[in-house]
């Protein structure tokens, strides 16, 4: 009897899907059910899920190149995030969104131009920083995860000092009169809030769908997908899967790791700008510190491992994880008023899944 169950196709399919994913998907459905039962507005909650999916998607996507090239989970995407913030801030400082010449063509065009300028500058900074970061990571093979975490943390702390002392002048950026440095939250209202989110935005009842955001996210996925299938991308995956074999096949492993790291950093920079234009604010200072953990958790929930990650992992994982976050908040507030259970939930899920993944890929037993 038990054997027939374990041999059945459904069971095998579920086993392949993995226990953590089953639990998390079940939890997601439970929350959806809870939202419906408590009458908290299923449609608007689903709209919320979709917009969060688009917001966090590209940041989670940044994990794919780094995992595939063998660097592993890149907890140091905070490097890319800070360069993204820097590009975004410069674009606001230059006030491209309100440039008379561009506004004369069309106000929407000006906003888009500002957004693109931010992304281009951020990509440039991210590529330069990612290059040096990749060089460093080539020197610390085998301990990347610990090193990347602390490089990321120290970068955040370093940029915190920079945010305080850099000579930005624009009134939307810096604290008014007495304060020093850039605001904790920089509002994007007067620049490129919703630059791509507002494209083709539509509403069904109380559900708002930011079509532009989702399309942009899917477009970035397509780029990464195509890249991973290019000659460079395949060579990169080979390095990640088996460095010795790759070297024997004549692939420059260090170069491939460098490319993967740079690509990951650039994606993170694009990701934070996309995130912020939907959110409406740049969150400065320590806000992006845990972003690396959240992104890593998302791909891991999607079924990735520290050695292998696919676009599908990103799509599924980000949707499940961010879906739980989006649905969890109203449900938890309804059931347990006056507590911050949904925030606690985020911490437990994101760090729990990383611990699970680490425990699965143990370096060796006591009897090696």
């Amino acid at each position: 009897m038990t054997e027939s169950i374990t041999n059945s196709r459904v069971f095998k399919g579920l086993a392949k899907f993995g226990l953590p994913r089953i639990i998390i998907a079940a939890f997601f459905l439970l929350l959806l059910f809870g939202t419906a039962v408590l009458d908290l507005g299923v449609t608007s909650a689903l709209g919320n899920c979709i917009s969060r999916w688009g917001m966090y998607g590209i940041l989670a996507l940044a994990m794919v190149p780094s995992v595939q090239c063998g660097v592993g989970l890149n907890f140091g995407i905070s490097l890319g995030i800070t360069t993204g913030l820097l590009g975004g801030l410069i674009s606001i400082q230059l006030d491209i969104a309100n440039n008379p010449a561009l506004v004369a063509i069309s106000p929407t065009f000006a906003v888009l131009a500002a957004f693109l300028a931010a992304i281009l500058m951020a990509c440039f900074f991210a590529a330069v920083l990612g290059y040096f970061y990749g060089l460093l990571l080539n020197q610390v093979k085998g301990s990347e995860m610990t090193v990347t975490t602390y490089i990321g943390f120290s970068m955040i702390a370093f940029m915190n000092i920079m945010w305080t002392v850099l000579p930005f002048k624009s009134g939307t950026l810096i604290y008014p009169n007495a304060g020093r440095g850039i605001r904790n939250q920089v509002s994007l209202d007067s620049s490129y809030k919703g630059a791509i989110s507002n494209i083709l935005k539509f509403k069904i009842g109380s559900m708002t769908v930011s079509t532009g955001l989702i399309l942009f996210f899917l477009f970035m996925c397509l780029i990464v997908w195509l890249f991973m299938r290019s000659k460079t991308g395949l060579a990169m995956s080979a390095v990640g899967a088996n460095p010795m074999f790759a070297r024997a096949a004549g692939i420059n492993t260090n170069k491939m790791r460098l490319v993967g790291t740079m690509f990951s950093t650039v994606l993170a920079a694009v990701g934070i700008i996309t995130y912020s234009q939907e959110y409406g604010f740049f969150q400065m200072y320590n806000a992006p510190q845990m972003m690396g953990f959240i992104s890593a958790a998302a791909v891991l929930i999607g079924g990735a491992s520290p050695k292998r990650a696919t676009i599908f992992n990103v799509l599924l994982g980000t949707f499940l994880f961010q879906g739980i976050m989006a649905l969890g908040l109203p449900v938890a507030n309804q059931l347990f008023p006056g507590t911050s259970l949904s925030e606690i939930l985020r911490i437990l899920i994101s760090n729990g899944i990383i611990l699970y993944a680490l425990a699965q890929t143990k370096g060796g037993g006591s009897r090696e």
Binding site: Q139, F336, S366
Partner: protein
């Protein structure tokens, strides 16, 4: 000639090996000059911070020797400390006795959590460090659940000074008594169920550990029925709100509880403890029919009694009624003491054990003590030393951990840890239970970290309920500054590290203020975070680099 080049080579190697330390020393000197602060400001502040943080940093050493790297899991020990601190404050305990009860309560909590951490780390050998870091954040989730929801929301705490004032009418919390009973019954049922499952699978059931676990659960269950304990396990289901306040003032509760223990009390209780300890050890030896060295027992007892008798001399008594000594007194005593100690060692080696005596090892301590003594004649230093007060009990605790770290390595367990740390395969072949040894190392570290956090909090005077997240980061950065690495650390490096790391931060805030003008509050915090993260990143990168080069 050859000898000379060798010496130069060794010196350059030594400088290269301690580059992080030297970098910090330079940074400190530059920052001290910029800040324009005098030694009378720096030195007292520095010694306060060493007393505060020394214990925590020393708790990192055992796992490093056991090959588990820098233990980012000590933050879990800190959580255990804060949980027990909250409970004993709720019980209304104060002073040194309350503090000791808190430490006693933190022991089983930290030991239990330590075994869990150790078990998890055994699942991820080789990535303990990143695992420990993520585990810290993960455990934070549970800690927040406990302090923001369970305390007040599930278990009633009737104290408006501790709880966040909020409307709790939507909740029906149970009394502490009920909660403890539920947990005890749950644990009992779980243990028995697991044992039954093992039995059903025809696996061996460890009867002894099973009996201990069940006995503990029943013991706790019985405790809840003792009427005398009712004030502690109140039946009240009234709660003042959901969640614990952000910061709890320890003024008048535990502030300086340990720092202000008078020396005379230490001597008195130390004497009693020694007598009891030696009596117990004598009885044990008699029971197990081991040989007793009567001569050494008598000599030791006479010395201890004599020392204790000295405290009855009025002048000594007067001196020992204080709880702090001036640094200048310590420095004055240090030189003759070091001479005496080395002479005693020489005497012991030459005439009692008849071994050759290695004078090289005596040069450094004697020279060090002499230099410190000479430096204290510089007027500004003399003034600073005169102003600096040292809390005796806290420093004795720090010394105690140093002795524990050293003493443990001389036991069988410590040697096992060393072997496991060097090579797990060899250790396993030699018949050492690798996993168990690693768990024990983790338990030691977690318990010590819990006590370290208690010492830190009693000196600081306020408990930031959610302010423990950086404990591991700062402690590890300090240890690395002292020249330790991922697989090698000594007490001396830990002490040097805490000295230099905190020396920099004592002068960093005023230096930044001078450089940038105006308010430096936020920048100082960022700078401190940057330096500690940067040091950790640097040390980890250098270690990985070296490992790669060695391959």
């Amino acid at each position: 000639m050859n000898k000379n080049t060798n010496l130069i080579k060794r010196i350059t190697q030594m400088i290269f090996d301690s580059k992080v330390t030297i970098l910090f020393l330079l940074l400190f000197i530059i920052a001290a000059i910029i800040s324009g602060k005098s030694l009378t400001f720096i030195i007292p502040e520095l010694f306060t911070r060493i007393a505060r943080n020394g214990f925590l940093i020393l708790s990192l050493i055992i796992p490093i020797l056991a090959g588990m790297g820098l233990n980012f899991g000590i933050v879990i020990g800190a959580m255990a400390a804060q949980i027990s601190l909250f409970i004993t404050i709720y019980w209304g305990l104060t002073g040194i006795s309350g503090f000791l009860i808190t430490a006693l309560l933190a022991l089983p909590i930290a030991a239990f959590l330590g075994t869990l951490v150790g078990r998890l780390f055994n699942q991820m050998k080789g990535s303990e460090m990143i695992g420990g870091l993520v585990l810290g954040y993960f455990a934070d989730g549970f800690y927040w659940l406990l302090f923001l929801f369970v305390f007040g929301g599930v278990i009633a705490f009737d104290n408006s000074k501790l709880m966040i004032a909020s409307d709790a009418s939507a909740y029906n919390p149970v009394s502490i008594n009920t909660a403890v009973r539920c947990v005890a019954v749950f644990c009992l049922a779980l243990t028995l169920l697991l044992a039954a499952a093992r039995k059903a699978k025809h696996l061996a059931v460890p009867v002894k550990t099973l009996a201990i676990k069940c006995g503990l659960a029943v013991f706790v269950l019985v405790l809840t029925f003792i009427p005398q304990l009712e004030p502690f396990l109140s039946h009240s289901t009234v709660t003042n709100g959901i969640g614990v306040k952000n910061s709890i003032d320890l003024m008048g509760i535990y502030k300086y509880a340990l720092d202000t223990v008078p020396m005379i009390k230490i001597a008195e209780y130390g004497f009693y403890i020694y007598i009891i300890f030696s009596l117990v050890s004598l009885v044990m030896k008699m029971i197990y029919r081991q040989k007793i060295h009567w001569k050494s027992v008598v000599i030791k007892t006479v010395i201890v009694c004599g020392a204790y008798a000295l405290t009855f001399i009025p002048a000594v008594d007067e001196f020992m009624r204080r709880d702090k000594v001036y640094l200048i007194t310590v420095v004055d005593v240090l030189l003759p003491f070091t001479f005496g100690w080395q002479a005693a060692k020489w005497f012991n080696a030459r005439f009692i054990e008849k071994k050759s005596w290695n004078w090289h090892r005596a040069v450094l301590p004697v020279a060090g003590a002499a230099v410190v003594y000479l430096v204290s004649f510089i007027p500004s230093v003399y003034k600073a030393f005169q102003l600096t007060q040292i809390p005796v009990m806290t420093y004795l605790c720090i010394g105690g951990v140093c002795l524990l770290n050293n003493g443990l390595m001389k036991t069988k367990l410590g040697q096992d840890m060393r072997t496991v740390g060097q090579d797990r395969t060899v250790a396993n072949a030699a018949g050492i239970d690798v996993d168990k040894t690693r768990i024990i190392a983790m338990v030691f570290s977690t318990v010590l970290a819990a006590w370290g956090q208690l010492i830190y909090l009693q000196n600081l005077g306020t408990m930031q309920t959610f302010g423990h997240t950086m404990v591991a980061q700062y402690a590890i950065a300090a240890l690395l500054v002292g020249g330790a690495s991922v697989n090698k650390a000594t007490n001396r490096q830990a002490l040097l590290g805490v000295f230099l790391f905190h020396a920099l931060f004592v002068v960093a805030a005023p230096a930044i203020k001078v450089l940038l003008g105006g308010d430096a509050g936020a920048i100082e915090e960022y700078f401190r975070a940057f330096v500690s993260y940067g040091v950790i990143a640097l040390a980890l990168a250098l270690h990985a680099w070296k490992k790669k080069a060695a391959k």
